[in-house]
Amino acid sequence: MCLAIPGQIVDLHPGGHLATVDVSKVRCTINIDLLEEPPVSGEWVLIHVGFAMNRISAERAAEQLRLLAMLGEDAQAMAELDGYAFDG
């Protein structure tokens, strides 16, 4: 809950609230309303409970993914992404 999951923006949904992200080949929908500026495709964000909380560099994203694996929380993180079930 307190460790963020990194995701790469793949697609912005019409309406401006949602985006599709890719995390290690898993795709899911997240909310982007908490970012100051809308992200663009290819950018990386840190995700908490379905919301992009801030932009990060690709290098920081890789670091965060590695950290989740080192802490043994990567499977749980992927289950979380897979579990997001909102569409609006």
Binding site: L34, H48, V49, M53, M70
Partner: protein, 370 residues
């Protein structure tokens, strides 16, 4: 330093560890609190204490939201389903936290409609797809998750969803740190500040620790090297007699925080006059409730919720562990009656809880060695 070679950057880890040994004055005993449960998890997972001199003691702080939640709040939240045939939703971490009559998971096993969600927006969607039912979301977390709950409530209001409410258990980290600093048995020398909470609130709110209490604070990332570098920065401040807020995690944490997140929180939430924290007691202005404008979505305003006061099981010493007075394994129940599989106290539930982290990494290692 037997574990150093397992790290990604063993050379840098070794250097940081050596620098810590150089900086630590052998005549002193250092008590440094890591505030965040994620840091506690990382410290145990990477056995970082093995890389420190024995006179540096890491004290685990209150930054694990399920750990500091008084047991009565679980019972209060569950009372909504008993009386109103509602669907109870919450995060996985809460599912296993014991209430007086069992955890949400145990209530579910007995037939209650309780569903784990990964996002508050999932709970809102459940309300929209079940218009004949009421859906209550048991919200929990520090400032990392509070903006998401707030934004979900804005969505509910904008969409006119009336069969949805939030039972807010959101807490804020700064008053808890202040309470620890004001406590009469306070013997801390410095703080490792939380990483991801600070991406929302920024580094600025921690300035009072340095300015008012003359204690160093270093906001830290979560990798082993981050934590060791943060300890180096803390020890340099202590050596020089400085008390400042430094940001080791500045690649992610901005000084000002996340302004849209702070705005949405300010729109939806206001401070409660006081809130009970397990182990720390009642702390004024330390938790978030919904503003009157959101009363229609506030479970506490909509439903008569019993103010349940439940004392922890007598033998459990969660409070002492939370305050750093006892180490996890010094609790009478640790590893016997209380295990991650059958937790008695919440510190054994979450991977960010000191007891669960200690059990998973230290206890098993010791047990394997014997």
């Amino acid at each position: 330093m037997k574990y150093v070679d397992e790290f990604r950057n063993p050379q840098l880890i070794r250097q940081a560890s050596e620098e810590i040994h150089r900086l630590a004055d052998p005549a002193r005993h250092y008590r440094i609190m890591e505030v965040c449960g994620g840091h506690t998890h990382a410290i145990y997972r990477f056995a970082l204490a093995d890389l420190l001199p024995p006179n540096i003691e890491l004290v685990h702080g209150p930054g694990c939201p399920v750990c500091v939640l008084p047991m009565g709040r679980i019972d209060e939240g569950l009372s909504v389903i008993e009386h109103h045939n509602a669907i109870f939703t919450t995060f996985g971490d809460v599912m296993r936290v014991p209430g007086r009559h069992g955890s949400p998971l145990e209530h579910k096993a007995r037939g209650a409609d309780i569903r784990m969600v990964y996002s508050p927006l999932d709970a809102l969607r459940l309300a929209r797809t079940n218009p004949e039912r009421h859906v209550v979301f048991f919200a929990i977390g520090f400032e990392t998750t509070a903006p998401s709950t707030a934004l979900t409530l804005q969505r509910a209001r904008n969409l006119g969803v009336t069969n949805f409410s939030v039972f807010s258990n959101h807490v804020t980290i700064v008053p808890a740190i202040r309470a620890i600093l004001e406590s009469p048995d306070m013997r801390l020398d410095a703080f490792i500040g939380p990483g991801h909470v600070s991406t929302v609130i920024g580094a600025r709110p921690f300035a009072f620790i340095a300015n008012d209490y003359r204690k160093p604070v270093v906001i830290s990332g979560f990798e082993p090297l981050d934590l060791l570098q943060s300890l180096v920065m803390v020890l340099r401040q202590l050596r020089d007699g400085r008390a400042e807020v430094e940001n080791q995690y500045d690649r992610v944490v901005p000084w000002e925080g996340n302004l849209p997140a702070l705005r949405v929180m300010a729109d939806v939430f206001e401070l409660r006059p006081y809130f009970e924290w397990r182990g720390l007691g009642f702390i004024s202005q330390s938790a978030l409730k919904l503003r009157p404008a959101y009363a229609a979505w506030d479970a506490e305003a909509r439903f008569a919720m019993p103010a349940v006061q439940v004392t922890d099981p007598k033998a459990a010493q969660c409070g002492e562990v939370l305050k750093g007075v006892l180490k996890p394994h010094q609790c009478k129940l640790f590893g016997r009656e209380c295990t991650p599989e059958r937790p008695v106290g919440a510190l054994m539930v979450s991977s960010e809880g000191a007891c669960a982290a200690y059990f998973s990494y230290v206890h098993r290692r010791v047990a394997a060695a014997v």
